[in-house]
Symmetry: C2
DNA sequence: TTGGTCTTGTCCATAATATGGACAAGAACG
DNA sequence: CGTTCTTGTCCATATTATGGACAAGACCAA
């Protein structure tokens, strides 16, 4: 069904573990649901698996403590044991350390909310957030927020920074999930093209009504985009003139971060 | 093979997901290996699975980014994507918040290193650590350290606080893993009995030569032990007299924490 | 060199497992 | 009290994961 997935070093896509891969696909969808969780039907729709299969997977994961069920809503969410497993890893990533001074500087200069977002698989994941000094702040996105690549301005920026073909593959893989976020492939592809032309990602309508976002991409030494830096503000605060100013600051700091992780 | 596992509300242990359960068993063993990771052979021995099976599981998980391989040692460890999934959960647990003042107080009073350890499945997991003011501190155990229940004094304390039958089941389930930690079922069961008699867990020989540990258990409102509070110090600093003093402080604070999570 | 003893990695016939179509049951709505 | 949502369950079946046997590489000693 999906002939995508070509691992880096020509590693043949190993078989004999369909169930495990499916369980992980389910987990990633649940992760995108955050604390609130995701109804079963949405997991079914997003993964393309059948309902009995998703049901079985989810309930086994519950028994194992990997997934929890919100008794009020019936939605499923990432469980207790996932952070417990995560403790086996050392705390802050290279990127987070490298980006820290830039976020500090840009936040002070701009005054609006700043986000650092990484790519993980076909998703974006918000890994850091700085609240600015301006009294109206867009706080819609929490650290840990996860969305399909393409639905946020950060996602569009990251896609714009990769080879067109790769970007198209990811967008296609996410197609089933776009519905939930009220967008579609054509719109996303259009935004990616626009971002390439501009040199940064931009959204007149953010995920929240009346907000606007600007994102620059951050590439690893090998040219792959690994992250994006985003400013979100109420739209009136980001007119054409200020948009350019903000974008310039973001572009400057993105370069600094690229140096820090490259050298 | 294992007829254990009876879920709380008489939920029948669901079937149709052997592979997923096995993958999780593997993951938990890898988590116990921490940053350094675990050689394949040890995963095989600890899980009781066959080598081809473990090999296949581990490599699929690598392709999925859930597991990483240390190229120097060839050992396998928990990968990048696990903390990423964990971000979908809100940060600090109830227990961590409730225990904070007690850890603060006990640490100031005692002066040696304090650990807060929870039970997760058949493992103990260190979730907090306070370094005391005394110049010689036992820092062997990091936050995130994971061990089979029974090999640390915290584990013994937690087992001592549960119904004897449950404790025996867990110890039996961990039997295969004790070898790695140079202990065995008989020893562990003996220590549990001793801890029950004393009212707290104690180890003349900690996981590091020349250290001694004292642990009290913390029970949830329903009587299940959920955590342990441990003091570790060089043995000479914990003679019989001071042992009693330290144990009394720990027992007192354990009660306080039980109140905080109970009320 | 050869032989021994460790590892990890791979193959593939086969048994066992996960699959999903069809059905059930409950909730919300008008 | 039908309609349309949702989630949950059953079980015959074919797809999938399994593991015995074998391979290959690393290291050590004689």
């Amino acid at each position: 069904m999906d002939k995508t997935k070509f691992a880096r070093h020509a590693t043949s896509p190993r078989q004999g573990a369909q169930a495990i891969r499916r369980a992980l696909a389910v987990l990633r969808i649940l992760a995108a649901g955050g604390e609130a969780g995701v109804p079963l039907a949405e997991v079914v729709q997003a993964t393309g698996l059948t309902r009995p299969t998703v049901h079985r997977i989810v309930h086994v994961l519950i028994e194992e403590g990997i997934v929890e069920r919100n008794e009020r809503s019936g939605h499923y969410a990432i469980g207790n044991q996932v952070p417990e497993l995560a403790l086996a890893r050392p705390r802050p990533s290279r990127l987070l350390i490298a980006a820290n001074p830039s976020l500090q500087r840009a936040s002070a200069e701009i005054g609006d909310t700043l986000f650092l977002t990484v790519r993980t698989g076909n998703d974006t994941l918000c890994v850091d957030r700085r609240i600015g000094i301006y009294p109206i702040q867009v706080l819609s996105i929490e650290v840990g927020a996860r969305r399909p690549l393409g639905v946020s301005s950060a996602g569009v920026a990251i896609l714009a920074a990769m080879p067109a073909q790769d970007a198209r593959k990811i967008v296609a893989a996410n197609e089933k999930r776009f519905e939930t976020y009220k967008t579609d492939m054509a719109t996303v592809l259009g935004e990616i093209t626009a971002a390439r032309r501009l040199g940064y990602g931009m959204r007149e309508i953010g995920l929240i009504q009346g907000t606007k976002s600007i994102s620059t991409w951050i590439k690893t030494p090998d040219g792959q985009p690994a992250a994006a830096m985003t400013v979100s503000a109420v739209r009136t605060r980001l007119g054409p003139r200020r948009e350019q100013e903000v974008a310039d600051i973001l572009l400057r700091e993105a370069k600094v971060i690229e140096q820090a992780i490259g050298g």
